[in-house]
Symmetry: C2
Subunit: 328 residues, 2 copies
Amino acid sequence: MSIQSLVLMLALAPVGATASPRIVLAIHGGAGTLPRAETSAAREAGMRSDLERALEAGHAVIRKGGSALDAVTAAVVVLEDSPRFNAGRGAVLNAEGVAELDAAIMEGNTRRAGAVAGLTRVRNPILLARRVMEDSPHVMLIGAGAESFAESLGIALVDPSYFVTPFRRAELEAAKARERASGDAAIRRSPFHIGTVGAVALDRAGHLAAATSTGGRTNKRWGRVGDVPVIGAGTWADANCAVSATGWGEYFIRVGVAHAICARVALKGETVAQAAEVVLADVASLGGDGGVIVLDALGRATLPYNTAGMARGTIDADGRIEIRIWED
Amino acid sequence: MSIQSLVLMLALAPVGATASPRIVLAIHGGAGTLPRAETSAAREAGMRSDLERALEAGHAVIRKGGSALDAVTAAVVVLEDSPRFNAGRGAVLNAEGVAELDAAIMEGNTRRAGAVAGLTRVRNPILLARRVMEDSPHVMLIGAGAESFAESLGIALVDPSYFVTPFRRAELEAAKARERASGDAAIRRSPFHIGTVGAVALDRAGHLAAATSTGGRTNKRWGRVGDVPVIGAGTWADANCAVSATGWGEYFIRVGVAHAICARVALKGETVAQAAEVVLADVASLGGDGGVIVLDALGRATLPYNTAGMARGTIDADGRIEIRIWED
């Protein structure tokens, strides 16, 4: 090996790659426009507390030798049940005032996957996505059909009002007012708010998993589905790399964000940080924005975003937690 | 450059890459289990004639200087309107005896995309997918919401009976009988029949596009969606590579087939033939099968499959047509 290539290799080596603690779980509570100045201390504290509970729920699974799949499931259920994020209870409302929920889960070592879209009566969409993966011959089920599948498994459906919070109802009214004022273009350019949730985990067997859950975008119409339940766009896991994305879903689908990141890791040997940076720049070049959390099989995580903020956190093998919403 | 690397480069150069005629359109009418011995001469002749009409419809667009996007649209509409393929009229029936249709389209140079799933009343799903791409801020619309979007554009909806053919009704009855005889496992292992349709095209501006349309699988339940409307799984186009897939959709989603092929072309410099072979082998390693049609920006096409047959055809810049269903 020449001196030049040795120098190059050292320059490209991720800082602290071997020294860093092994991250076993990373989560997000959505990237988007959530200016710090407009966020109350109480709301911020509530989000941080929920993120911490989600990290601890997932870490408890890993610590006991459980699977990455169980860990991402546990973390996402906590965030779906919290009214503060755009998933499960507290999800944003569509143009009809109904929460219309999408979710997906993927297991890296087997590449099994499950996805659901357009749910209005399933309390924890991520649990149904997982049942699709484990208890059906299918990967993706949508709408009333997916809810019939849930019923066939004995999952009790909830009334759609379970998901609705006063905060999201006010947000929908504001969106409708903006639309009335500025016409159709408002749909295209309306800011999206922080809140989609997701998790990526690495278990002791070295297996990865990813899970994502969302209510999509406020005031959405026509059965709109974003990137979350599109395997390869908002959610992906393989043997080397797991991704959960959050952002302007249309752009994330058009770039195939989650698969594109893992493809760069597998085919070009990039680190997850390098790959995520290139792919988010690609999203930005088309006009989109958002963020991703990515974890590799060595426990190296990256959580980049190009929006005002992204609620996010990691926990390492020793249980050390880091939680951030803005740059801090 | 060393002699060794020169020799390696020459060995890897695609045979006849520059000498081959430039393919401007490739189409498929589905990969699957269609044993030649069980196919009547009349049915085979009908399929070949439809494939020829589809190739000519797309080629007419390219010849007049039209876009790859218009060419794939024209070709897929011909196959959707034919009762012989599993798309539009003549699509397979779900467990309720209804044709439940999915489609997607993508333009390579802009990476704009449109997808629809779970339609029961839209005559040409590919035309609605295109309207989603061009006339909505969204990429994917599903179910009744997608049909409301169609109505908002003035697209007349058809009665679901429009799609139903005696052939598909008999196929559904046979599937239900098999299921009754062998239990749930029948769903998992039931053979899928030839018929999903798709097209990839290259226009004079050097732009690529891909389109795919399907009724999914006979006797499907629970709002099942396969790979076709999952951008990156069954359908993908970028500046260098366009793919339309057909096969056991669940496996194609889990591999992210269409994006995976184009990622190998972009990141590893593989030819479309090399990339498609590796990715189809990956599908097979998980237990799935099917086929793809892939076209690059130099007009090099590959149409591999690992099923009993795949209805497929190409037309080159001079209008020369090749159509095959089995190995021939």
